[in-house]
């Protein structure tokens, strides 16, 4: 097998194994109902994680997504509360703002040549601060259109439901896979993650691609914010604190190299499902406390970082062995 598929295979194997363990203990967990809930409960995180996958593939990081999700939620709640605007128009407006916000961060990263870490940290402060400025209270959203949207679902055999937001997440993943692996933009993202200077020499429009990557992440964070507001029917500026960490964890557990250049969008979906599964298991168990989720995810992170380290080590050694014959040391 091509070593680049190794982390992905490991992720899938872990997911199947974990599901098997859960199933043996709680046969109920293998039901369309649980699967449907898994998708619904993690929809906003999954959508944000798709954006994070692109960012990480390009060798960057986006710390602002949690704050942007919260901002979007508050923005929608305030807008729907104080104006008569239709939610769809509000959604459009929110997406324009968050996309522009992401693009702005991308532009700063590229033009000021500063590390994404610190730029998106500023973005996180700014987005969270703007959310606070809009409102520090939790504002409920009672628009009838929300009720309509929440009532939309596809019924699975066995009583499970693919809700609108669950389905939206799957659609975003599908679109993400297509963009990552079958478009020139996708190839450019991988190219940036490989080596920016080389990518530039090879004609990759580095600036445009960087801006587009963070704009995409901003757009998806905005979409995640919309989904989150549908999910909770409220906007709260203190919501989704630390979601960026969950998204990063999903990406890494999904087998994407945190240093960029290697990984798959599909892996992120599995990484997300593994996290969801741990939470579901703890809920099913009832006696386990929620903090075990964090500890387990931390351990999984660690395991995947080690796995990738090992893979790089092996491929280095193989190349070195191959180089022994004629090539340079």
């Amino acid at each position: 097998m091509n070593p680049r598929y190794f982390p992905l295979a490991a992720t899938v194997a872990i997911f199947l194994l974990a599901y098997l363990v859960c199933y043996l203990q709680y046969p109920n967990m293998l039901s369309t109902r649980v699967i449907g809930n898994l998708l619904t409960d993690n929809a906003f995180l999954g959508i944000a994680a798709v954006g994070m996958t692109f960012v990480i593939l390009s060798g960057g990081i986006d710390l602002s997504v949690g704050a942007v999700i919260a901002f979007t939620g508050v923005f929608l709640a305030v807008l729907l509360q104080s104006t008569a605007i239709h939610p769809l128009a509000a959604f459009g407006l929110a997406l324009v703002i968050t996309t522009a916000f992401g693009a702005l961060m991308g532009a700063i990263i590229h033009h000021l040549q500063m590390p994404p870490f610190i730029v998106t940290l500023a973005g996180m402060f700014l987005a969270r601060g703007m959310a606070f400025v809009l409102s520090i209270d939790s504002i409920p959203i009672r628009h009838p259109f929300y009720a309509t949207l929440k009532g939309l679902y596809y019924k699975l055999p066995g009583g499970g439901r693919i809700t609108l937001i669950g389905g939206l997440m799957l659609a975003v993943f599908a679109a993400g896979m297509l963009i990552a692996h079958r478009t020139r933009f996708g190839a450019n993202v991988y190219a940036l993650g490989g080596d920016i200077a080389t990518a530039q020499l090879m004609g990759v429009p580095v600036g445009r691609t960087t801006v587009a990557i963070y704009a995409l992440s901003g757009f998806l964070a905005g979409l995640a914010g919309i989904v989150f507001s549908l999910y909770t029917s409220a906007g709260y500026s203190l919501a989704t604190v630390g979601v960026e960490l969950d998204a990063i964890a999903a990406v890494v557990i999904g087998g994407t190299l945190l240093t960029g250049g290697s990984g798959f969008v599909a892996g992120t979906l599995v990484g997300l499902l593994i996290q969801g599964l741990i939470q579901t298991y703890i809920t099913f168990d009832g006696s386990l406390s929620s903090w075990w989720t964090k500890i387990l995810i931390g351990l999984l992170l660690f395991a995947f970082i080690l796995l990738q380290k090992g893979l790089i080590h092996i491929s280095d050694r193989r190349r070195r062995a191959a180089a022994t014959v004629p090539a340079a040391s």
Partner: protein, 506 residues
């Protein structure tokens, strides 16, 4: 034959200034269709500046560039590429994390219904590489292939994209003889197809092997352009250096084991699997042992294992009957070893630290953090070596990265001399530095040797090696295959030793 071919590229009166320095001064350069044109000069002569002006990486201050009869003004490498000027660099070439096909077609992948058609892309990649006799799995990651294959892929991409002018910037620097031969076959084939090829290299043998014309730059000025066939090696060197080199031809001596003292360091069956086959080596006080071999033959590996940068997994090292601990650079330094690595920028200098701190570093590391060298002591050390080695710097507090290559090398040497070593390992100490510093470093090696230090010097410049070595170890395929001493230390004998084993292998 190609002397009447029409010009494909003509640059006239190219000027380029940087703050405080004029890098190019009224340089003319022309390239004919179907010729290989070598661009030569010392470091800092302006070769890479000229190439960067031609490819749009730099904006020139003045001058005209005419490509195929049309005046062009590329604003970046991309535009130059689209105009027909492709470039292949020594190192930064392609993206190892993408597949071979993706590397070839990045930015111009064939599409169907708006999506990349991977199958078609791979098919085209195979067709393209077939022209270069390269039959590899194009869907596999580029990182799995050797440097030579990657270089060919880079050339294939550049030619496919540009098709008029191909600039090869030191493409052979990390290739061995076989690979160079393969590369030259490809270059000749491209020349015969009518491409104009600019070839930049440090290896004069290669220039004579492949170039039709030679242009020499010196200090940012054009010295001249001549047909390679009519230019003697001597004249070429004179053009490059701007003066007649003192004749170093009487190399038939070797230093006759001048110091010929007793054996100070004794390595037996010393080696590391996968890196360098076990070897025996004796080093006497006051002698220089030269190490020769092609790149990848195990030269640097030999240096690293002697210094503990790579741990030996077989054999023993002794000095005066005592076993040496060479398990890490730190341990080796305690045994009074020193090592100037080949890649100065990556392994040698600490760029943002001052000249003073760079000189004090190894001594300070050996003393341990709790016994700091006082500031006065550091100043004294730095001033001493800046004077003794003639390090050109405005002051000792200047960050070392702002110094020229030759002066950086001298600072690294000073770093080791400050530790007062018994045994100094120099890996390509004169690579990539200007002629003046070059001569000074050779003089320094000789005087250290006369003062009783033991040295191992690795160099690909055989004349130089022969001049100061009392013995020369010849490497091939990561093994020590011959040791030449006394009368046999000649360039001819070294080449013969490398070639002999090569034949034996074949």
């Amino acid at each position: 034959m190609q002397s009447d071919n029409p010009l494909v590229l003509a640059a006239t009166g190219i000027d380029k200034s940087f703050p405080g320095a004029k890098a190019l001064d009224q340089v003319d350069f022309s390239l004919r269709r179907g010729e290989v044109h070598a661009l030569l000069g010392e470091n800092g002569a302006g070769k890479s500046t000229l190439v960067k002006c031609l490819t749009g990486a730099y904006r020139r201050n003045a001058g005209r560039i005419v490509l195929d009869g049309v005046e062009v003004d590329p604003r970046d490498t991309l535009e130059a590429q689209n105009l027909g000027i492709g470039t292949v660099y020594q190192e930064v070439n392609l993206l190892p994390n993408l597949t071979v096909a993706e590397n070839l077609f990045l930015g111009r992948q064939p599409r169907r219904f708006g999506l990349v058609d991977t199958r078609e892309m791979n098919r085209r990649a195979r067709v393209l590489l077939a022209q270069y006799d390269l039959d590899i799995d194009v869907a596999a990651g580029l990182s799995g292939y050797s440097v030579a294959v990657q270089q060919v892929v880079a050339i294939a991409r550049a030619v496919d994209l540009s098709g008029k002018v191909l600039i090869l910037d030191e493409p052979t620097a990390s290739l061995d003889a076989h690979e160079v031969a393969m590369l030259f076959r490809i270059v000749r084939r491209l020349r015969d197809r009518g491409l104009g090829i600019v070839f930049i290299t440090h290896f004069l043998e290669q220039v004579y092997e492949i170039a039709d014309r030679i242009t020499v730059l010196r200090n940012g000025r054009l010295v001249g352009t001549q047909e390679a066939a009519g230019l003697s090696r001597r004249d070429l060197i004179a053009m490059m250096l701007g003066r007649e080199l003192a004749d170093a031809a009487d190399d038939a001596h070797g230093r006759a084991a001048a110091g010929a003292g007793e054996v100070r360091f004794r390595f037996r069956n010393y080696g590391r699997s996968g890196r360098i086959r076990p070897f025996d080596l004796d080093v006497r006080a006051g002698e220089v042992v030269g190490v020769a071999g092609l790149l990848g033959s195990g030269r640097t590996e030999t240096a690293e294992i002697l210094f503990g940068a790579e741990r030996a997994d077989s054999g023993t090292a002794e000095a005066g009957g005592r076993r040496l601990d060479l398990s890490s650079p730190r341990a080796a330094i305690r045994e009074k070893f020193g090592f100037c690595p080949e890649d100065r920028k990556v392994d040698g200098i600490v760029g943002d630290l001052s000249v003073r701190e760079n000189i004090a570093l190894a001594l300070q590391a050996r003393r341990g953090w709790a016994r700091p060298l006082g500031r006065a002591e550091q100043d004294r050390l730095a001033d001493h070596y800046i004077k003794a080695l003639d390090i050109r710097t405005t002051d000792r507090e200047k960050p070392i990265r702002l110094l020229s290559g030759g002066n950086q090398q001298k600072v690294i040497l000073a770093r080791w001399l400050a530790t007062n070593p018994d045994f100094l390992i120099l890996d390509e100490p004169t690579r990539g530095i200007d002629v003046g510093a070059h001569a000074e470093i050779i003089r320094l090696i000789e005087s250290l040797c006369e003062n009783g230090m033991s040295l191992i010097v690795i160099s690909s410049e055989l004349e130089e090696l022969v001049a100061y070595s009392s013995r020369v170890i010849v490497l091939r395929d990561r093994a020590h295959v011959a040791e030449l001493s006394g009368e046999r230390v000649t360039t001819a004998a070294i080449v013969e030793a490398i070639a002999a084993t090569e034949r034996a292998q074949a």
